[in-house]
Assembly symmetry: C2
Homo-oligomer: 314 residues x 2
């Protein structure tokens, strides 16, 4: 069994699911919680999952990082809108040779984390997961679950497949989680944005599910144009996303059952939207390379307005 | 007094207002009506106006063009979404040397009209008018009212100020309507789009008034970027809109009282939106000159989706 000790930073729909799976597989897992702390420290975690339901009556729950043991792997499973907390949270819970595993959406987050934790390694993880938190300590896993790992290197040059990635992947695989290892984290991040940028953005702005966006000729066209703009952004980082990948994403989405995107769920629940991680950072990265992504910029500014208005109304 | 006979095609907030003003000034005016025909033919028109209320107990009301006398000036005051009716409506009511005065929003409409009426002259009119139809034959005039006239020429080269324009302007001025004569209709149309494209589009997409769009830093920026894209479109037609004009429009809008745009009113009333006239035609005109207006394209496709969805829900 793995000797690595895991911390889960953010025990919600994503962190709660993966953390519970790791503990169920026998790993040593420590959960940081905020609003659900009292409940989870008394009653543990419940996971309803398409792969089988299970309960963990007892988990290591913490309300403050100071009380947590130093961990080998700190899994960042907060929404990126909470990342202003990372400078306080991360350093106290990390072992000297530890790893931060960033399971968040968007671009450039690993770079921000690396600046906080100094010479600790940072690995990015791209999650393909449908899950919701339906109550305190209660996660409902609806579909998928695979994670793609990529090693972060300063400047995001392709880091290849490292031993660290393999060891962490082995722990997750032992917990029944499908894993993929990517040689180039930045390429993997841009590729995920090919889907996330059009569907997350338009689902919120136009109050629409994926099937509605694909059924209407003009939004179908706009989705495709936005995907090509993401590829243009990737190219400004020296990463090539072929047209065939875009076609695959379009075909895949047409075949999916009607889907409410994660940003739309956040919006409907009146939570802050991850606009900067998913839209602002890619825009700025491309712009720094002299490339203006005009249609993504239009979506970005609309989302900033919608996000601000939604929080004023709260 | 003018010997010109006027037909008003579309007796709503705009056509009803201008037509009533012309009749009140003693001109010979003939109104085509659809849903309000019975009411107006019995009770006439009522105009509540910031310039003074008045009633016309009796007007020349028609339900079909066949019964109308041939007119010297046919004022097209329908929404552009009704323009598929023009080939039936226009020819029967026009004298041989008549004029069609197009009081509609957007770009390229005069060209469509000229194709229908052959060798009759076409004049474009840009209305700066705030008015609503509040009931059958009942118009409420809230603000402004000026019309800018411009002569249409095949290919939209600058037509200069013609005698026809001056005669029609004199009739309108006699009715207390402020008139401006433009030497270049296409330039005037593009200049009006500098305001119409950002504010009409974003007010519908983001469910916002002009003051909200200007108060938020990101939509304020997007408005400005869209205005510059309109200027890029104008340039592709060989028309120059200086930056100072854009700055004037921004300053002017900040100083305006909170304003619900005409497209937002159409949307809220679940009427079809003038997306093709205001967005589609300028996009296609620029594209034909090899220029892609990407942010306007994004707004256009969003509006097409919203318009279609709104009408399905009706």
């Amino acid at each position: 069994m793995s000797e690595r000790r895991y911390a889960i930073l953010g025990t919600g729909a994503l962190g709660g699911f993966y953390g519970a799976k790791l503990q169920k597989a026998g790993l040593d897992v420590h959960f940081l919680l905020k609003s659900d702390y009292e409940y989870v420290s008394r009653y543990g975690l419940v996971v309803e999952s398409i792969e089988g339901d299970f309960t963990l009556p007892q988990v290591n729950a913490y309300h403050s990082v100071e009380k947590m043991p130093k961990c080998d792997v700190v899994v960042v499973a907060l929404k990126t809108t909470q990342n202003h907390l990372l400078p306080q949270l991360l350093p106290p819970m990390l072992k000297d040779n530890g790893v931060v595993l960033v399971l968040q959406n968007g671009l450039g987050i690993e770079e921000e984390v690396a600046q906080i934790v100094g010479n600790v390694s940072v690995i990015g993880g791209l999650c393909f997961l449908c899950s919701n938190k339906v109550g305190a300590g209660h996660i409902r896993h609806l579909d998928y679950g695979q994670i793609t790992l990529g090693e972060y290197t300063s400047g995001y040059y392709a880091g290849g497949i490292t031993e660290r990635m393999q060891l962490i992947a082995a722990d997750f695989i032992s917990a029944g989680i499908a894993m993929e290892l990517a040689e180039d984290l930045l390429l993997a991040r841009w590729k995920k944005l090919v889907w996330n940028i059009p569907y997350n953005g338009l689902s919120v702005i136009l109050n629409a599910r994926t099937d509605e966006l694909m059924a209407h000729v003009h939004t179908r066209k706009l989705v495709e144009q936005l995907m090509h703009e993401v590829a243009t952004g990737a190219k400004s980082s020296g990463r090539i996303i072929p047209d065939s990948f875009i076609q695959t994403m379009l075909d895949y989405t047409v075949k999916m059952k009607p889907y409410r995107t994660s940003m739309k769920i956040d919006y409907d629940e009146r939570r802050p939207l991850e606009v900067e991680a998913i839209f602002g950072n890619p825009l700025r990265k491309a712009q720094a390379a002299g490339v203006n992504l005009l249609q993504i910029n239009c979506i970005y500014q609309q989302l900033k307005f919608i996000d601000a208005k939604s929080r004023v109304g709260k």
